[in-house]
Symmetry: C2
Subunit: 482 residues, 2 copies
């Protein structure tokens, strides 16, 4: 695959003076972390060298597990001295190959930096090591009567450091924003080996450039995030779900606008009729109502009083009167709400056996209908046998495009055609001033397409910043850009 | 004053090859902007060369008023070629001398880039030129049934570009965050003269380092913000104000924590008894109740239903039972709510005749009580005749420290003593890991104290970033750091 040609950065290190051979490097690594915390078995190299993309064959030199920020710093200083490429590794749930080690790099895994260090009820903040699992943080918040609102499918295994390095979003962005919005402070080790305490957990602090926001979403190319102080929120009250059958794609916008004027939505998701058919065929989930609709919207909100429920019902009726909504159902209990969510949440697993080509793209909300229609048209024109499944976080403009492999088509043939689809999709993304990666990051898979969202001039500034924090290019080389 | 010694950056430009004399520079400026948009009259130089600090005598060479981003770009390219120092100028309401031109710089004023360019009801975004006045944006939002929630005393004259360059906060941060949180996209001209479209107004966009967040709060040292797409919110409903008399400073935390568990506060302010006495003496405002208390808290929330009001009353009663609250009053109408706000909002004007020494500092919320007590103690110990007035946004840890000049003390004598107070205050800020500038920025007044909040190592990275965007050092030299 063409992406591989870009991945030679790690190999160029062998030309420098201070280089060590693999044996020497591994021996030194063992002096920098705790006993037994350097792995080199082939099965470990395979496990820790890849993420969920599984496109690039993993080939790390070793896996190290630091336990403290100081050990991370020692690793970075060593890497600088001897030009050793380092790849950060969290829960390895990434979908852009941002945490893949395919070129003899040393993987720095945060599995043993998984402690919740501090909690302040007054400040509603919790200080975590980078290896804390998303669900661990969610549960901790709940145990303390609070709420960590960033949530997504991989919450059970993704680590906080990885979430922040890709600025993960998920299903509640319309109300709660991205991971970025919940970071009060960060401790990082820069690519030069400096430990920085960024923002000191302050709510208000206007003392020069906010480096915290530079490390968030940097995919480990500027340094390692080792600790983060995360903000927590009030627990939402009586979350209620409304599923609507829509007459037309543009009605998603009409419905959104009507509801947002009166009710703070905590989620606004959508999925196509085809998507729902796959979920129903997969079993265990019922259709929300008998009426068939081309598209469905799922709205969630806090029904904090009867007034809110009355407002929601009045809005629903108005949407029906306007011809936007064909039918709908509202949850009357927590169980019903969870069941309705299944319609949206089970899409991915229901289509998984069909080897879907996946793409995570975004535009501003109002451009979703024409954007989706254009992509549909170009794919259908060229590949009429491709089944397109749309779903996603339409309330924030983030669509998940999934194309299913036709039965009987060879994988290789399908993947090759999908490369062509990529080009069409990203050209449409560029025309609509969208993003080639809404929430999965760039890593290696989106690297060849970065210029569809960021201009060449802008990319030159990104490289300038990289040079400031990681002048030797040891931090996750070959990711984001070359 | 010692700050002046740092301000020689602009003068070093005279050593370069390409330099022009003032006459040549002014002649060229006239070719780069519209007719009549270069001012050099002494009164204009005086007006546009200073902000609200009024410490540094203004001495700009000229004032230019671009009308387009392309004109700004032309100015920056010219400045690069001939080493001309540029100072951005918005509403000039700054309190850290970030927009002061005291060394023969060319002031670039955005007064004629004051158009609202675009509005999208579906996206709830509005595209503004940098010179749009805060209140103009607030009013525009209201006319369209929406809400721009960033609000502060200078909203009637501060410009959006300036707000973003200092990441202004104000009185609703506890609910709505800082200016930063409302920026969907930015158009900037970098110090090298490149026009960049940052983030393309997207809600989700994880394609490399977020340069948008680097320009926000940069005080014009990396380039000019020329346009911003701002997000808008649902209009708040039935805003209700509760003023409480507190038994003790630590009760501010108890009350905050109790209420936040159940109600989303839109503001949580506090002021001392002394502060209120000045407001009452100033006239037009009534005491909220007869009971005297050492501290007062002002809470605001949306009373969207009777349930919320019942919850608030129950919480109030619980706070009284716990001995935290001595007395309280709740607004029953919008007028009453506005009247209660006067108790907090009129503090600044009521103490203005007493030549207050002002400082805008922050710590994490839970550290407010010991932090304030320590500062009180050290000032009172050394200067028992100084009257200290405390108020501020205690819900986000941002305190406004005001010290009133004793009657009869000479201004100079007072200012000199305040320099000593500065040092004590910032040492206490550093010990509590706070910020020497919560929301006013660094500019020139806080520059000598930057290292109390940002480490020397961190400041070196800030300088590295500056070098990437403004290698010739033409953008607002002498501000933030040297």
């Amino acid at each position: 695959m063409e992406q591989f040609s870009d991945l030679t950065a790690a190999q160029t290190f062998t030309e420098t003076e201070n280089r060590m051979n693999a044996e020497q490097i591994i021996a030194t690594l063992k002096t920098l972390v705790d006993d037994g915390k350097v792995l080199t078995d082939p099965s470990d190299l395979d496990t820790y060298g890849k993420d969920w993309t599984k496109i690039y064959p993993p080939k790390p030199m070793a896996i190290v597990f630091p336990k403290t920020t100081e050990q991370v710093q020692a690793l970075v200083k060593f890497a600088n001295e001897h030009q050793v490429a380092l790849v950060p590794s969290g829960g390895r749930t990434g979908l852009s190959a941002g945490a893949v080690a395919a070129n003899g790099e040393v993987v720095v895994a945060f599995d043993y930096m998984n402690q919740i260090i501090d909690f302040s009820a007054s400040d509603r903040t919790v200080r975590c090591q980078a290896g804390v699992i998303t669900e661990q943080l969610q549960n901790f918040a709940e145990e303390n009567g609070l709420y960590y609102p960033v949530d997504f499918a991989s919450a059970g295994s993704s680590q906080l450091g990885g979430n922040l390095s890709t600025n993960a979003g998920g299903i509640k962005v319309i109300r709660y924003g991205m991971s970025r919005d919940w970071v009060a402070g960060l401790k990082v080790v820069t690519g030069k080996g400096d430990i920085l305490e960024l923002n000191k957990d302050l709510e208000k602090n206007n003392t020069g450039y906010d480096l915290r926001h530079l490390f968030i979403g940097a995919e480990g190319t500027l340094g390692f995030i080792t600790e983060a102080t995360m903000k927590l929120s009030r627990k939402p009250d009586n979350l209620t779900v409304l599923v609507l059958g829509l007459n037309d794609l543009t009605n998603t916008m009409d419905v959104l606008q009507s509801f947002q004027k009166q009710i703070d939505l905590t989620a606004y998701e959508f999925f196509s009729h085809q998507a729902m058919q796959h979920v129903l065929a997969h079993g265990q989930v019922q259709a929300p109502f008998e009426t068939e609709a081309p598209y469905y919207a799922l709205l969630e909100f806090e029904a904090t009083s009867d007034q809110v429920m009355d407002d929601a019902m009045a809005l629903f009726e108005q949407c029906v009167e306007n011809g936007w909504v064909l039918d709908g159902v509202i949850s009357q209990s927590e169980t019903q709400a969870q069941n309705l969510w299944q319609l949206r949440e089970r899409i991915s697993e229901s289509i998984a056996p069909r080897t879907p080509y996946k793409n995570d793209i975004s535009v501003v909300v109002s451009k979703v209908p024409p954007f989706l229609t254009e992509i549909d048209a170009v794919v259908t024109e060229h590949y009429p046998d491709f089944e397109i499944i749309w779903f996603g976080h339409i309330g924030d403009g983030n669509l998940h495009l999934n194309i299913l492999k036709p039965e009987g088509m060879a994988n290789e043939d399908f993947f090759e055609k999908c490369q062509q689809v990529n080009k069409w999709v990203f050209e449409i993304v560029e025309r609509h001033q969208g993003s080639v990666s809404a929430e999965h990051g760039v890593g290696m898979t989106k690297k060849p397409y970065l210029q569809y969202t960021r201009s060449e001039t802008e990319i030159a500034y990104l490289k300038g910043i990289k040079q400031v924090f990681d002048p030797k290019g040891i931090m996750n080389p070959g990711k984001l850009f070359d």
